[in-house]
């Protein structure tokens, strides 16, 4: 318990609470349960992508193509729906997961088999996937009236007061908690990122593990692609442009070490929520829109500075008599 209180997750959670108190002092309605639920729903896509990104970063990689993957999958889903409105949502969900996974696998294969650095691979596929949307759609938008009600309605369906979109984020987060702690693959992510050289000695295939991480990340990006397009009821080339950096920022604020091998799912969740709250609070607390960018930038820097302080390990103690005071 005390170790949790000193952990970066606890500090981040405290920061989020402080932020909420601060916001509610200017705008009390923000912390009403209904609104918090809305903020959580709005943050769900970020949470989904950040979870995928977390396993990628844990394996010492990075996936910059998530937003492009999201957009391409979203566009394909939207175009499919526009052309065949009768296709059931379940099929679209499977398509989205599958397409996203394939794009993740392409990244993963190049990292695994060709040993190209992940940032290079995904910088490349980011532009390629994005470009493919243009080629596919000819630059045209898919608009709300072209989509079926079932298609756009799915993420909004209300279950116990929360929309499906939020439930999906909760479900996936739960799966990640379980998968990371209790499956060999989950532990392999840490091993591969923490010490890739040593991972080979323990029989873990580094490349294959990274491939799995990219596949998971891609799969979630695909899923989010459909949810995003359905939620905003529009698909175009540029959707979620620049979102990849926000996703990375969420992970890092959550304490996922960019050098791999360190960080927790809880951290990522909190990091995403932190950004989500900042993003949703800025429009309501009546701060000039021109200040928003600078404020979110400062928030990122402060958060990172904070959790690097808290994460610094004390090291061991040789002097016996120093043990008591330290």
């Amino acid at each position: 318990m005390t170790s949790f209180l000193r952990s970066r997750e606890a500090i981040l959670a405290a920061a989020i609470l402080a932020l909420l108190v601060l916001i509610s002092s200017r705008f009390p309605a923000f912390v009403e349960p209904g609104n918090l639920a809305r903020v959580f729903t709005d943050t769900s896509p970020l949470i989904l992508l950040a979870l995928g990104q977390t396993v990628v970063i844990l394996t010492r990689c990075i996936d910059l193509s998530v937003a492009a993957n999201l957009a391409l999958t979203g566009m394909v889903c939207a175009m499919l729906n526009a052309a065949y409105p009768g296709v059931p949502v379940a099929v679209i969900l499977i398509l989205a997961l599958g397409m996203g996974a394939v794009m993740g696998m392409i990244n993963g294969l190049m990292v695994w088999k060709l040993k190209i650095p992940p940032i290079v691979v995904t910088l490349g596929t980011m532009t390629i996937y994005r470009g493919l949307i243009f080629v596919l759609s000819g630059g045209a938008w898919v608009n709300a009236h072209e989509m079926s009600a079932a298609f756009t309605g799915f993420p909004r369906v209300d279950i116990l007061g929360l929309p499906v979109l939020a439930w999906i984020a909760i479900l996936v987060t739960g799966l990640f908690f379980l998968g990371i702690a209790r499956t060999p693959l989950g532990r392999a992510f840490y091993a591969v990122g923490g010490n890739p050289h040593a991972a080979v000695y323990t029989g873990i295939d580094v490349g294959r593990t990274q491939f799995m991480a990219f596949t998971i990340s891609g799969m979630l990006a695909g899923l989010t692609g459909y949810l995003w397009v359905a939620r905003y009821s529009v698909a175009y080339v540029d959707i979620a442009g620049g979102f990849e950096l926000e996703v990375v920022a969420a992970c890092v604020i959550g304490g996922i070490s960019i050098a791999g091998g360190a960080g927790t799912i809880l951290g990522t969740l909190l990091g995403a929520l932190f950004l989500g709250i900042v993003k949703n609070a800025l429009p309501v607390v009546d701060i000039s829109p021109f200040w928003q960018l600078a404020i979110s930038g400062t928030a990122i820097i402060v958060a990172v500075a904070f959790n690097s302080r808290s994460g610094r390990s004390k090291g061991r103690i040789i002097l016996k008599r120093a043990e008591g005071h330290a």
Partner: protein
């Protein structure tokens, strides 16, 4: 694969039993190096086979071939008479081969228990990792090797020695027929080494076949039943240990005889060069006072974790002391960074070669000239010819084995990397050189070269601080020895008082102050 801590010993097999593991004609080539050239190796159940050879002879390479990390280019491996092929490390583990590798094969962010079991963790019925069982099993193995470690502790909080114990525990977590140990005692001190020997004895009694790689002859003669010698990737001899002596083994290894391990030295010790007064650190050491004189070799002995490395790193400006002063040639100097230490003529050959010593990725000559760039360059512009000349001078003197000076240091064997790091510092012509476990992992021939060079430089007026956990080395090389224990100076020994018994007694705190 399950851990069996209570299996009764397998019936003891006699010396002329059939080998359990046999490698024949194994060849492995790296770009520019034929690391293994048709070597043969046999391991017998219930026997310890010592594998010896110079640095770069191919010892670690054969270990990696045996454990599925490298695939051999040619040759056969047979286990219990049947040919086997290991595509991954897990295959080898599954076949009952386990290894303590020369490199640390551990994960800082994972707990001790997980480090022991990663890759073969116990599972529940649903295929999920069974944490409670894993903790219990880890605890059991750790207590078997007398390691007092909490299985839940993150590995990053352990010192190097404890980490090594975890690596040993990891090897024991597999019920193996064949146990390989690649220089297992290099990072351990006296007490742990003794415990390791006992462990080896126990495993031998259980009928396991053990491959033991070491550069320390005393331990080879103490625990091995057989020997195999590699030279330059070739098998040059093997047999029963009772049928050779040390000289013969050395001759096989280096192809000539090495007559004298510790050089005779002229002790012409001059004025005081370095004086450390009241040095202290909040958590690592306290009340450090000592002097070092010109041309002197000052040994630092202690059990691993005694805080010697921390002290040396503070002297070198890596960590900050909370109190105390350093005088160099009588002048008080404040050293806040390694760069300032180098400017003041103090240099440090670190213990952790891979992380702090060699710049892997840069060629040998650039590693050597890195702290001497001011000397080889003109107005800040590089002069490659000067660099090559300087690098050649020092690496050849240390008997480096390399294909070319522009070869990446990362492709050298561990011992040869160590020579590059030592060369790097000697090339700066320092006043004081601090060597932290300087011959750790260095073969006997090169060790002699390093010791010889050390003696020669001391004779020319260089002052040396040598941190070592090897008693023969400490006794053989030092003029004076400081023994450290738990961050404090436990004793300063000189002349008659310099005996193995005294070292061990002070280091372990037997009969010393509380």
């Amino acid at each position: 694969m399950q851990v069996s801590l209570t299996t009764p010993p397998v019936a003891h097999v006699t010396a002329d039993a059939a080998p359990v593991l046999r490698l024949e004609g194994i060849t492995k080539t790296f770009p520019g190096v034929k690391a293994l050239d048709g070597v043969t190796l046999e391991l017998y159940p219930g026997q310890v086979t010592a594998l010896v050879g110079e640095n770069g002879a191919g010892k670690s390479t054969i270990v990696k071939t045996l454990t599925g990390i490298y695939q051999p280019d040619g040759g056969t491996i047979s286990l219990g008479g049947a040919p086997v092929h290991f595509a991954t490390a897990q295959d080898a583990t599954a076949a009952g081969i386990t290894a303590i590798h020369q490199e640390t094969v551990l994960f800082d962010e994972l707990s001790v228990a997980e480090n022991i079991f990663i890759g073969h963790a116990p599972r529940t019925r649903f295929g999920l990792i069974d944490w409670p069982k894993m903790r219990r099993d880890a605890q059991e193995i750790l207590s078997r090797i007398d390691a007092d470690l909490d299985p839940d502790m993150p590995l990053r909080e352990l010192g190097i020695a404890s980490k090594h114990l975890v690596a040993i525990a990891r090897a024991l977590s597999v019920d193996a027929r064949v146990v390989i140990m690649d220089e297992p005692t290099a990072a351990l001190s006296h007490k742990e080494i003794e415990e390791l020997y006992e462990l080896v004895e126990r495993m031998r009694a259980e009928g396991r076949a053990i491959l033991f790689i070491s550069h320390k002859f005393d331990e080879i003669f103490r625990i091995a039943d057989r020997y195999t010698v590699f030279r330059d990737g070739q098998h040059v001899g093997s047999g029963l240990i009772s049928e050779v002596d040390e000289a013969e083994l050395v001759r096989l290894m280096v192809g000539r005889s090495v007559d004298q391990i510790f050089p005779q030295r002229a002790h012409n010790i001059g004025d005081e060069v370095l004086k450390v007064v009241g040095y202290a650190h909040p958590t690592e050491f306290d009340e450090i006072n000592f002097t070092l004189r010109r041309g002197e070799i000052l040994g630092f002995y202690g059990l691993v974790g005694a805080g010697r490395s921390e002290l040396m790193q503070a002297l070198f400006g890596v960590t900050k002391p909370s109190k105390g002063a350093v005088r160099i040639d009588g002048q008080v100097r404040v050293i806040r960074s390694p760069a300032e230490a180098v400017e003041n003529g103090i240099v440090y050959v670190p213990e952790d070669r891979g992380r702090q010593g060699a710049v892997i990725g840069l060629p040998i000559f650039q590693n050597v000239t890195l702290p001497s760039l001011a000397q080889t360059s003109r107005h800040g512009f590089l002069r490659l010819s000067e660099e090559f000349a300087l690098a050649r001078e020092y690496t050849e003197r240390l008997d480096l084995r390399a294909a070319a000076l522009d070869q990446d240091v990362g492709t050298l064997s561990g011992g040869n990397q160590q020579k590059v790091v030592i060369a790097k510092w000697l090339a700066t012509k320092p006043k004081v050189i601090i060597l932290d476990e300087p011959t750790k992992g260095i073969d006997i021939g090169s060790k002699a070269a390093v010791h010889g060079f050390m003696a020669e430089l001391a004779a020319q007026g260089l002052s040396v601080i040598m941190v070592s956990s090897e008693i023969p080395e400490v006794l053989g090389m030092s003029d004076r020895v400081i023994v450290m224990r738990e961050g404090l100076i436990a004793a300063e020994l000189e002349g008659e008082a310099l005996t193995p018994e005294n070292l061990v007694r002070h280091a372990a705190g037997i009969g010393a102050r509380p």
